[in-house]
Amino acid sequence: MKLQLLNLDVKKDFPILQKKVHGKPLAYLDNAASSLTPEQVIEAMNQYYREYRSNVHRGIYQFSELATEKYEQAHTAAARFINARPEEVIFTRNTTESLNLLAYSLTRNLQPGDEVILTEMEHHSNLVPWQLAAKEKELVVKYIKVTEEGKLDLQHAAGIISKKTKIVSLVHISNLLGTINPVKEIAALAHQRAALCIIDAAQSISHVPIDVQQLDCDFLAFSAHKTLGPTGIGILYGKKHLLQQLPVFLTGGGTITEVTYQGTQFQEPPVKFEAGTPAIAEAIGLAAAIQYLQDIGMSNIHEYTTSLTEYALQKLSSLNNIEIYGPRNSEERGPLISFNLPGIHPHDVAAILDEEGIAIRAGHMCCMPLVKNHLKQQGVCRASFSIYNTPEEIDRLVAALQKAQEVFHHG
């Protein structure tokens, strides 16, 4: 096929890509799980540890003031990245914690029988917290169906989002099917019924430009470690007036204006949601990662990874005896492809690929009900792409999959 790719020239920025695995160059195709980290991000965090290591907020000395400034700049950078205001961005540990915060705090004032709408393609992180909250508060959880093709059944969605619905929480890009969901339309549907809409942007944040004003979602969650940033820091965006009303989740140092032995007054958001010493180095690393992405340009990134996904879809489809899941059109999916080689367990496929220096993920991808009920599989293999991946790496993937078929079927 004819492949026209932008030349992003980024491989040199990722020190880990100099490494060899089993004597072969690393082809890192597990970006949907976690992305690699460029030198610029590592250096920003190192600089904090080497040059102005101190705690943020109440330190009245030079290093603490610098750390505080950098930490607050990270809020601003994260907010601008999604077109929000700095006070609308809360730093958490990861997407999972952001969603746990919402599942806890948003359900405090709900009544028995109130409904929470999820989809059948949610990651466990956007499923388990709601199940627990529903059990505690006697809420009803309903799931928007997934079609045979791996898309949301929008007719079904329109049917189950009702006056009883208080919250609609859904994934933007499925980490298993790759499907890009029409979140703007679902948010509008939720608002028509006076419900709130939450978007799990864990996969989409590094693939498409995100604008929370344009999506008009009420909350949105993502992690730094899937956006070339460090592990240990996540983001929760919420509309300002909603965050002001929202009951607190984790509390303690840093969240208060006044504490007496009788009670506590909390600060305004985002401070009231950021208890304890935050992930300072990680916030600084996140800001550096956002700068790095913005220097390349999110639309360039989107174009590059979409072309690469298209190439991978075509190459993988040319293999004999492969099942590929999710939409077949690369425009309708994120930069990830889940598949199975029938008769070979995903872990065995991944192990053979590892011997070739190719890193993919194998298993249920934290979507157990989707894998078992919808795909009727025990697990899947998933290859996922980022800006440093190349068509040559996809050729190596395909060759290694052929090798796996030879090992297992012709041994």
């Binding site: 695995v21 995903p346 872990h347 065995d348 192990a351 011997e355 298993g363 249920h364 697990g379 090992v407």
Partner: protein, 137 residues
């Protein structure tokens, strides 16, 4: 046994080693003692949530010995081959000996170096056996 991974030595050595040796593929394709025993003295099922591997072990004891052993399950080649090999090893052995089977013995049967995560696949059968034997003295 594979030791803890040292990042300085990642990717060095072991390149020539085949993970899917013929004996493992043979046990995977033609598992020994595969099936269920309807009425048995001991029955235990365990799963490995990382892979979704499942192993169910059935043992019939006679005079304190494993007279009949079967396993049923599905999962990756390593988990299923290990279970097949372990059931062969268990047959005819007294409970006290079954209780003493060590992880190293099972890994030695497989005869390959397993990394930290794949060890859970290889040792799922032993975990199932050990859970099943709890309370048997």
């Amino acid at each position: 046994m594979a030791e803890t991974l040292d990042p300085n030595h990642l990717g060095s050595g072991k390149e020539d080693e085949e993970l899917y040796r013929e004996n493992i593929l043979d046990h995977y394709r033609n598992p020994r003692n595969f099936g269920k025993i309807q009425q048995c003295s001991l029955q235990q099922k365990e799963t490995n949530p990382t892979c979704g591997d499942e192993i169910e072990l059935f043992i019939n004891l006679q005079q304190g010995k494993a007279a009949e052993v079967k396993f049923f399950g599905r999962g990756c080649a390593i988990s299923q081959a290990a279970a097949s090999m372990l059931t062969e090893h268990m047959k005819g052995k007294p409970i006290e000996e079954l209780q003493k089977i060590s992880p190293d013995e099972v890994l030695a049967m497989l005869g390959i170096q397993l990394g930290f995560i794949r060890k859970r696949c290889g040792l799922l059968c032993l975990k199932t056996l050990q859970k099943g034997l709890q309370g048997e003295t």
